[in-house]
């Protein structure tokens, strides 16, 4: 029972990890709390369903969904972050919230508000170890999300773009002085971070086989909490935060009921922030060592 919950929690956490890392990239590098993330997550998941429902093959539907989400992310870059930078910092945040509502309602207008069941391409494939059942789509999702974080880490450490991103994250003024152009880095970052959360949406739809125009809201709230829990702007903090929140959620369902999940998850988040306001990995002494 406990082993099963551990497995389920980690696999749910894998999805939160991707969303939390996406928030972290936006916040850590650009100091931008991007509220369009839930919509990008939803576009990934929902459009995969729409593609399959329209008769596309799975890979094609996923590709289409990711492409649309990536373009949506670039649109947000142009129209919120780039256009409204330099003004009051809350303006891009509010307008990204506007995009969240816009994207969700566009999907709602086209496909309605009902949750849709999406068949799994893996059927009911699972793996049994003793009493523990491991769903293959979920396992695939967890492995993929952790591998993507390692890939992201390598990109940040070993490429010129990665060094530019980390320089911007530490000190935008110094980075500019050295010749980093934020207007060139930002679109790539929006593409990367947008793909991370859209892919999380795809994995969610594969694992839980249910999509809706609002599927991103709850998940992104958990992803955001995972970032805060991990320490605002630290990638590995976001990973641990995501896994912890996934575990807490599954154990809360098991021990209490589904209705108690948010009380427990956010109660624990608030409690941990009272004990350590900077989050698990947000060392104030390393305050500027983001990403």
């Amino acid at each position: 029972m406990i082993a099963q919950q551990l497995v389920n929690g980690l696999m749910l956490g894998g999805i939160y990890v991707l969303v939390a890392v996406s928030f972290t990239l936006f916040f850590g590098c650009l100091n931008f709390l991007n509220f369009s993330v839930p919509a990008l997550f939803m576009l990934g998941g929902f459009l995969t369903w729409a593609g399959v429902a329209a008769g596309l093959s799975w890979p094609l539907a996923v590709l289409l969904a990711l492409t649309v989400a990536a373009l949506a992310s670039l649109l947000v870059e142009r129209l919120t972050w780039r256009l409204q930078r330099g003004g009051p910092p809350l303006i891009p945040l509010v307008s990204s919230l506007g995009f969240l509502i816009l994207f969700e309602n566009l999907v709602l207008v086209r496909w309605g508000s009902d949750a849709r069941a999406i068949p799994s391409p893996f059927g009911d494939a699972n793996w049994r170890i003793g009493d523990v059942v491991i769903g293959l789509p979920q396992l695939f999702g967890l492995i993929l999300s952790i591998s993507l974080v390692f890939g992201l880490q390598a990109l940040l450490k070993r490429t010129k773009l990665g060094r530019g991103i980390r320089s911007l994250a530490e000190n935008a003024e110094t980075a500019t002085m050295l010749g980093v152009e934020v207007d060139r880095v930002a679109p790539r970052l929006f593409l990367l971070a947008g793909l991370f959360c859209a892919l999380a949406g795809v994995l969610f739809s594969l694992s839980y086989q249910l999509v809706s125009p609002y599927m991103g809201d709850q998940v992104a709230l958990k992803g955001l909490s995972a970032m805060v829990l991990g320490g605002m702007g630290n990638i590995w903090g976001a990973v641990i935060g995501g896994l912890v929140i996934g575990l807490v959620e599954i154990f809360a369902v098991g021990a209490l009921s589904a209705d108690h999940v948010n009380v427990v998850v956010f109660g624990i988040l608030l409690l941990s922030l009272i004990i350590k306001p900077t989050g698990l990995f947000g060392d104030p002494a390393l305050g500027q060592q983001k990403l």
Binding site: R163, A169, E170, T176, G179, E181, Q288
Partner: protein, 250 residues
């Protein structure tokens, strides 16, 4: 090589620079002096394009760069070593050096890094450590090494001796002289006026964002009236003794 004509700059409503002109010739060392808040840092930031010039033109190597982005100016060889060094503490020493080459179109090879490490053995030992572990002097060397990675034609240094011991200050000035001997022009902002005037051929004195003196450094050093007004009035004999770095004209 670098010509600024009548440049003005402001922080919002606060005017910080009013119609300042200067010319740095090929191979020149020019010092910029002035009291705290005179606008020295603002001048460098405007020349690099971190702050827009509200009036005036800036030319660099025969080209008007007034409207170019900082990255474009760095790519053309106009490079800054900022006030307070500003090394990127979350990056390693080597990554900091690579960031110096960021706007370049080619990738710096290991030989280039080795040349920097040859000059700065302390940095070589710490190449894979986070720059946060460096001492103030090492950070200054890293900031200068980083500037060299940009293949500079002119380096602007903002108070490179700030917080350094006299011995390290002499080392930094010797380094500046040897860069100059390699053909790199220098624009040097310095609090230590005597040191700066001895290390430079020309000097510009700023006062409340305006040019108060522009001429040959020895002339400024001799001019009693100017010295009293802008250099704290101390005669050269009263200043702490130091040896001028090699290769610098007296």
């Amino acid at each position: 090589m670098l010509e600024a004509a009548g440049i003005s700059a402001a922080y919002g409503p606060v005017k910080a620079l009013a119609e300042v002109s200067l010319t740095v010739a090929e191979g020149d060392v020019m010092a910029v002096l002035g009291a705290n808040g005179a606008g020295k840092t603002t001048l460098l930031r405007t020349l690099l394009g971190l702050l827009p010039a509200q009036a005036g033109r800036i030319r660099f190597r025969g080209e008007d760069i007034t409207r170019l982005k900082p990255a474009e100016r760095v790519r053309r060889g106009l490079v800054m070593v900022p006030e307070g060094r500003r090394v990127l503490t979350s990056l390693t020493v080597e990554e900091n050096l690579l960031m110096g080459a960021y706007p370049r179109r080619d990738t710096p090879g290991p030989a280039e890094l080795d040349a920097i490490y040859g000059r700065f053995p302390n940095l070589a030992q710490r190449r894979h450590m986070k720059a946060v572990v460096l001492s103030g002097g090492e950070q200054q060397m890293l900031a200068i090494g980083r500037a060299m990675m940009a293949r500079p034609k002119l380096i602007m240094l903002d108070e490179p001796s700030l917080g350094l011991s006299p011995r390290l200050t002499a080392e930094v000035f010797a380094l500046i002289a040897s860069l100059n001997a390699e053909g790199i022009a220098i624009l040097l902002v310095e609090q230590n006026a005597m040191l700066a005037l001895e290390a430079s051929r020309h000097a510009l004195v700023l006062e409340l964002g305006r040019t108060a003196f522009d001429g040959a450094s020895p002339a400024l050093l001799q001019d009693d009236r100017v010295r009293r007004a802008y250099l704290g009035g101390s005669a050269p004999e009263d200043t702490p003794h130091h040896t001028p770095p090699e290769g610098v004209p007296p």
